[in-house]
Every structure is written in structure tokens, then in C-alpha cells.
Symmetry: D2
Subunit: 292 residues, 4 copies
């Protein structure tokens, strides 16, 4: 499977009482992403509040997404579990329902050693034939994997074949590119670093931004790939403050508040997460007018 372009991240709509998932509204979010010309849909990532779902909710979202997307684009399923057993359980489920691949990150309570992380990835890889995107996001997952270590896992672990880098340090991408001779595909997971990531050789950009600003991320991706550097710069700076805002104010909260501002309200994030406050909401409204 050759993944490229914009990997779109749906948020997960909840019922009014915050107690269950609203699958109908999830379909609406997926439609928005497909209209934004994403190259793949990644369910159950950070933006999807996967960490805040019960096991049955998680499985509902995974299954519904695969069915709803119905092969139009590949479906990536995020797996970020504290125990290896649960990560295997979820990966097997993703395989059974026909997902295209998983994006696997080492969510942690205790800091994990490289040996512990390696064994975790290996055990998950051995559980199904699904391709694995190694996902490094120290800010949410509590462990930081170096480019060298992730490339070692790509080398040694059967299904580990791609990397998503969200540390926010562009040097990591340079290392991945240089150390792998440009052979290991890597994806940008830090929204407001998209311009440099794509210029540095990233195969794509993992983002929830298309939930709110349509195909602008796709336009930026294409401008870079076509060598239209002035246009790419202009597109990036047009999106820059918006991208920084959704990252720093919390992806799920920001996207959900943005959808409401756009008349596509799908409810609040799950507690303890809170929707944007009044001032942030107003700031977001201002940022969104840039794209009307």
C-alpha cells in the first residue's frame, strides 16, 4: 500500500450527555474529510479522542469508519494502548473489520525503555499482517523515540514500514530521510510544521485541519510537490495561525468548536476535556474567516 498526501483525522462525536458515541454524526465528519480530498482516513487518533473511549466505543468507531468509507480511500486505525495485550486485541479487531493499516504509538504511564517499546511493536506486528505506521508523539504519549530507534524497528519488525513524526523537531525528519537514504516513508504529524516537513521529503501530512478548512492542506501538499515554492509559502502562511491554534488549544476541542461555529455542531469533547472558552472561540472564528 502506498500512502501519500493528506491523511485526514475525524473527530469523534458524542451524544449530548457525553456518554455514548454518535455514529451518524461521525459519518458527517467523514464526508467533510472526503470532500476535502484526503488521501486516507485515520480513525481513532488523538483528534478522535481514542484515549477517552471504552473498548466497545472504540470498536464501534473503528468498524463504522471502515464501513462508511467503503474503500474510497484507505482507512488507518490508531492504536495507543497502555498494555501490549490490549494493543494486540485492538489490532486484531482492526484487521478483522478490514482496515488498511494501523498507526501504533507507545502510550505510557511508566516511561518505557527501548527494549520494552521494541517488544511491544514486535508483538503487535506478529498478531496480524497489517502494515504499521510507527507514531512518535512524546507530548501525548509520554515517550520519545529517536529517528535511529524507529528506523531500527522498521528494519527489524516485519510490518513496521512507515513513520509518523509529531515531536515538532524538523531535525528528526532530516535524520529519518538521511539515515534511510530517503527509503522509509515518513509523515508529518505537527500541523504548523507542514511546509518544512513536506519540503524535507515527507510523504504526507496527518491532520484534522481538513475538518474545518477543506482542501487547503491538500493544496499546500500539491504546491510543494509541484515545486511551486512561492505558492506553497503563501498557502502555508495563510493556514499558519489556524494550524498553530488548533494544536496549542487541543485538537479535539478546537475542531469540535470549529465545527459548531461552521454550523456543523457535533457536540463537546469528553470530560475532563472541555470545549473552547469564549475568548478562544472568538479567536478561532476570526481565524476561520481567512478561509471563507
Amino acid at each position: 500500500m502506498k500512502l501519500s498526501g493528506i491523511i485526514g483525522y475525524p473527530v469523534t462525536p458524542f451524544s449530548h450527555d457525553n456518554k455514548s458515541v454518535d455514529l451518524g454524526k461521525l459519518g458527517q465528519v467523514i464526508d467533510i474529510l472526503l470532500e476535502a480530498k484526503v488521501g486516507a482516513i485515520a480513525a481513532l487518533g488523538s483528534a478522535g479522542e481514542a484515549a477517552y473511549l471504552s473498548e466497545s466505543e472504540w470498536k464501534q468507531v473503528a468498524e463504522y469508519t471502515v464501513k462508511y468509507v467503503n474503500g474510497k480511500v484507505p482507512v488507518v486505525i490508531g492504536v495507543a494502548e497502555l498494555t501490549t495485550a490490549q494493543a494486540i486485541n485492538y489490532t486484531r479487531y482492526a484487521y478483522e473489520i478490514g482496515a488498511s493499516m494501523i498507526m501504533l504509538s507507545p502510550f505510557s504511564y511508566y516511561k518505557l525503555s527501548e527494549q520494552e517499546i521494541y517488544s511491544h511493536y514486535e508483538a503487535v506486528s506478529n498478531a496480524t499482517p497489517l502494515p504499521i505506521m510507527i507514531y512518535n508523539n512524546p507530548a501525548t504519549c509520554g515517550v520519545d523515540m529517536s529517528p535511529e530507534f524507529m528506523l531500527k524497528m522498521v528494519d527489524g519488525i516485519q510490518n513496521a514500514s512507515m513513520i509518523k513524526e509529531s515531536s515538532g523537531d524538523i531535525q528528526r525528519m532530516h535524520k529519518i530521510y538521511k539515515l534511510s537514504n530517503g527509503k522509509v516513508p515518513f509523515f508529518n504529524g505537527c500541523n504548523h510544521m507542514a511546509l518544512e516537513a513536506l519540503n524535507a521529503g515527507a510523504s504526507g501530512w496527518c491532520t484534522a485541519a481538513p475538518c474545518l478548512i477543506g482542501d487547503r492542506p491538500k493544496q499546500l501538499f500539491e504546491a510543494v510537490k509541484e515545486g511551486k515554492s512561492e505558492q506553497a509559502k503563501a498557502l502555508f502562511y495563510q493556514q499558519y495561525e489556524f494550524l498553530e491554534f488548533i494544536v496549542t488549544s487541543g485538537l479535539a476541542a478546537a475542531v469540535k468548536s470549529g465545527l459548531e461555529l461552521q454550523g456543523n455542531g457535533i457536540g463537546d469533547p469528553r470530560k475532563p476535556l472541555q470545549p473552547l472558552g469564549r475568548a478562544e472561540r472568538k479567536r478561532l472564528q476570526g481565524l476561520l474567516t481567512e478561509f471563507v
Copy 2:
């Protein structure tokens, strides 16, 4: 309730296949702690691998601990859940089974704002009359609460009455003491900072060390309280390398390997956590000979 002295943390024994909790062996661990003269037992903390248990396992451990301790000392139950709903669920359970109090930390995937944390603590406080120890451990929980903010919660939230500080920065304790005029009890959660925490006015020391070194922590606590500063210093430095070792090599893994070295084997931590490697094991064995 007046909590003081050593708060002992049992590890959670698993069955050989790592798939279920071994309650019988948990009783043995609790016995070791009681013999070490702890002033309270704190189940389901970091050392107890609470983050790696299923809901039913978590409840088994909580219930068994309360029953087994049987009022000899207070039982504190650790609550560190990603959603507010689950934290309330667990806290209610702790109340139903007769626990003495809870130790509440804001485990996070998304970084939480102070407003989100405050609402989380408030909602949990409103769910039961149990006293709440606010627990700050940025290394495991992913959010860092300032002394000022924790004292604000003690002020404004009904049951929040104590603080456990595990950031490793002694200045936090000075702030808590000074800003509260010595009125808000605080506990040391950073093993190799015990000497200065107690000298700075900590009411007690939360530690899994008594699982392996008996009543030495209690001796250190008493030496400080009795103003025997030379003896306190000697006791601390005797324990120092051991305390630093169990923190830096992972509490659950270190304590479980140590119990095995002492002939009280209760199995391995749960994957992805791994038992100590050969070299660390040897190091631990050397450190333990200090206390024979």
C-alpha cells in the same frame, strides 16, 4: 483522618501468564508492608501498576486490599483515570468498599488546562465524602500542577485536603509549606528526596521501598521527627542508592525483581513493562545486601 509516617505501596502480583491478578500473593505483599510498620497502605498507585489493570481487576485489587488490611491502618486508593466519568466510577467504588481516602491524579493524553483539572477534581469530590489527596506526578501523568494551583484546589474543593508531591523539585514543598502557613499536609512521593522532604515539613513519605527494605523508611521518618539529624542523614545515605535505583529503573519492575531476589517472588510486571535485565538485577542484589 490524620495521615502520617510511611504510606506503603504494594505492587500487584499477576498470574504466571500475566493475564490475571493473584490476590493471594497480594496478601503476602500487604503483610510485608504491615511488618515494615507503615502508617497506611496505598493500593493502586504507580507501584501497583493500576494503569495496566482492567476495570474488573482494578476493583478486585481495591476490594481485596481493604478487606485484607481490615482496619489495621487506613487504606488509600489511587485513582488516575483518563476520563472524569471513570474517575468518579472508581471513587464511588472505593467509597462503597470502605476505603479511607483516595489519592487522585490527572492522568492525561491531551495536556489538561487548570480549568479542566479543577473541574475533574471537583466532580470527583462531589461524588463521595472520601478525603482526597491531590497527587502531582508529571513524569507519569503528563501534567504538572503548581503548588499555587494545588492549594487553590485545597481551598475550593470540599474533600481535597492533602497533597502528594512527586515532581522531584524540593522547592515545590517549600512553596506548599510557606503559602499554606504549614497548614496543608503534604507527602513526599519522590523516594530519593525523602530526607529533605521530611526536613521541609512533609507529613509523610509515600513509598514502595518497605516492600524490600522493611522498616528503614520508618526509621528515617522517626529520626527526622525526633531531631536526630546525624542519624537521619546516615539512614538516608544508607538507603540513597537503593531509593534512586528503584525510581530510575521503574518502581514496579524493580520491586518485583527485588521480591524475587529475596525469595518472595510474585511474578513479572505486565507487558509492555519488563522485569529488570540481568545487569540491573545484579545491581539491585548488591544494593539489597546493605540491609541484611
Copy 3:
């Protein structure tokens, strides 16, 4: 004055006993930079070991450089002094000898407040009409200036008109560009971030790399400006490991060892700085073969 392209940094050659500056050899280094098609020469920067020179040595180097360059390209003089009085003294000297501008950084022992930094820049600005490039390099200077603060100085201080950013965080450049509407010229001071800095709108790249790899930096600059993004990427990755190496092993030491490896030996850095060790030297030799 419109500065653009590659700003080349000469190293400062010392006599064999390390006790005086060797001006003749300084001329050779300047020739190498001019052959590398630099758009300006920046004397007395980090690479020039300005911090390690006596006042009379500093003045010799400044005067010699201006005379030797003789108007072929602009000459920038680095000023990084602990006291405001000495910074003014050096700036006045730079003006008297006919330098084109100064690059001013707030070298510090005590951390400086923004008010202290602002007054420092203001006092220096009032001393001469020379344009000032604000230089942020927290790793060497011990204070970190935010984009917002530096733009405030550009706004409020007469001669402050440009920024050199060396923090290594690409987001700083995005901020400068966005907050100033692309109006305030900024320069890249972090060698192994050159590709993204130029793509993000940097006017130029401040670097000692041309001392060793000729006009490759200039080629990279032009490829980006002409929108040849694939070629720019290739040129960048060709230079990447070399650029990272000279930064992480110490610019002055690395460039001086490199010149010796290329048969242009000009002596060692000044103690406590040491020349590269045997292993690093070998690594550098390997990296340089890439460019023969």
C-alpha cells in the same frame, strides 16, 4: 542596505603560541569566503571566536577585515559584549573603520530581563547610525529572545532592522514572518535548518560552512529562491551531515580542523577550546570527501 544570500563567517587564525591573531592568514580565510560567492562577510561572530579576543585583538580583526574586503561585499561586525559600555565602544569602532552594519547579541552572565535587553540595544543604536541585526542565539549567549520581543525592538529602536535567528526552532521564523507580514528580513543562523529557513522566507543564511565547502550553500540558496525544490532538497541533504557536524562539534574547532585537513591550516582555537580529537577529525574528513 539590502542584505541577502550567504553571509560568510571567517574564523580567526591565531599565532602558533595561541597568543596573538595572525592577520595574514585571516586574509586567506576571507579569500576563501569571497571565492565561495558570499553576499557579505561577518567578522567577529561565534565562528570568529570573538568572545575569546582581547580588546586590541578584536579591533585588529575588525579593522583588517574591513580593509581587506575593501567594499567587494558588505562587512558585518558581530558585537556580543557583557556590558553596554563595551558594546557601545565596539560599535563605535566598527562605525569608524567603515563597517556596513553590526550584528548585536546580548551575551550574558546574569540572565537579562526584556527591559534590560531593550535598553542595551537602544543605547547601542543611539551610538552610531549603523544598521543593527538583532541576533538570537540562546545556546551561546544565555538569553532567549522571542520573535514578539525582537519585532518590538525592530519597531521601537531606530537602527534595529533585521533579525538573525539561531535558536534552532523553525516556528520562530514562522512567527517573525507572519507577525511582520513578511516585512522584517530575517536570517538563518542554524546551519542544519537552512532548507526550511529559506523555504520559510529567510533573506539569507549566516554560515561558516563556505570556509570548507565553497559555494554549496550559495547553490542551495539559489535553488530555493528559483523554486527548484527537488534540487534544493538534494543539495541540502548532501550538506546535511556536514552542517550538523560543524554545529555539534563546535564551529571554530570544526572549521579550523577542516581547513587543516584541506591543506589550509591556520592553527588551533584558543584555550579552553580544543581542536577536534582524532575520531572527530576522521569523521570530518569523511564528510568532506562528499564535496570534492
Copy 4:
């Protein structure tokens, strides 16, 4: 020489135009310290703005201090120079004028490797027979030396025999004590960590606080040494906010403003350093009333 107790740091008074040192007023500051029962005087430390003095000013201050103290207590001279040659020059001067020892820190522009630091200390040690206190202060000097490395220098370098630790991390002191079996004397250089440093075995406390609060630091030192732990705690918390304040607002500026508030005005710090602003001044005034 056996150094112990409070090592008092005089600030350096300047003339009204900030252009020269006022030696007469320096004598007044030294008198204040001697009345505060310090065990030694340390001239030309951070508090003394040594980094901001010209060579001739530096020598004046050193010579005047030794003469004025006149053997009543030992005089330590701080040496923190960028070049090894200048550090040797200053150390020789300290020896010639009869100083008791030097306190040597590796002030840096380029980060220094351990090998570079080692050679720097070794060269200075070989220049005179003066005992050397190794001084670690990463916040001002830009390099951080580990306990292990400093003990290696104590082992291998003739005159290096003591350590002053100012990183603010109490664990460093535990390491020094434990790794040297309590044999290598270490001094606290972090004012608001004095209580725990002394309890952890520090031989003394290096501080400018006695310039403003007389013999309270000495009282705290003695309470700890005599095992009066409750009294030590009370004394520490009485001084705590004051100690934290002078550290966070800049030692030289804070002490000079404090002296002025107490009617002992000796002028401002040297630019770019500024005296305390109005609000900070008021805060300091409030803190000082605690000690009247």
C-alpha cells in the same frame, strides 16, 4: 585550610556614573558581612558582578578585599574567565596578593566538553599552589558539570579540593556525598535550597544574603549543625521568600536595592543590569521587614 559555615559574598559598589569601582564603599559592605559572622569572604563572585569588570577593576577589587579583610577570615577569589590564559592571569594575581583560595567556574561562550573543562582546571591548578573550589553554576556559566565529573577533577587535579554546587538540584549533593563517602567538602550555592543542602552534609553556604539579613544565615547553619531541626526549619522558612526573591530577581540588583532601602546605598549594578523596578523594590521592602 578548613572552610566552613557561611561564605559571604560582597557586591561591588560603582561610582555614580557607573564607570569605576568605589573601593571605600566596598569596605562598608565587607564590614556588614564580617558583622554577620561569616566564616569567609568571597570576592568577585556572581554577586560581585565580576563578569562586568575590566581587568584593572577586577584586580583593584581583589587586592582591596584581601587587604581590608586583613586575615580576620579567609578570602576566596572568584575566577570565571572565558579564556584559560586570563583565568591563569587572574589566579596568579590572587596568589600574589595573598588570597586564601580561588573559586573557579568555566564561564563559556561555546559549550565546553569535559576534556576542555578538565584541561582548563588543570592549567589553572598548575599556575599556583592556591586551593581550588570547583564551582558549578549552569545558569550563569552556560555549562553543567556532573557530580561524577567534578569528583574526577578533585581526584586528578592537584589543588582542586572542594565543590560549590549551584544547579539547584539537591540530588547533585547527594551524589557528591555518597560517591566521595562524605570526604569531599561541598558548599551550597543555591540560596533557597540551604536547609536541605546543610541537612545533606554541605560544609557551608555561599551567599550574599548576609549583606541584607545579617547573621540569620549563620543561625540557620548552626541550628542544623546542632541538630535543632525544628528551629532550623523555622529559621529557613522565615528567610525562604527573601532568599528566593534575591535569586530570581538577580543577586547583584537585589542586594544593591536592598542596601539602599536599608540606608546603606552603594549605587546601581552595571549596565545592561538594572536596579530593581518599583514593584520589586516594594516587594523587597516587605520581605526585609521580616528581619527587623
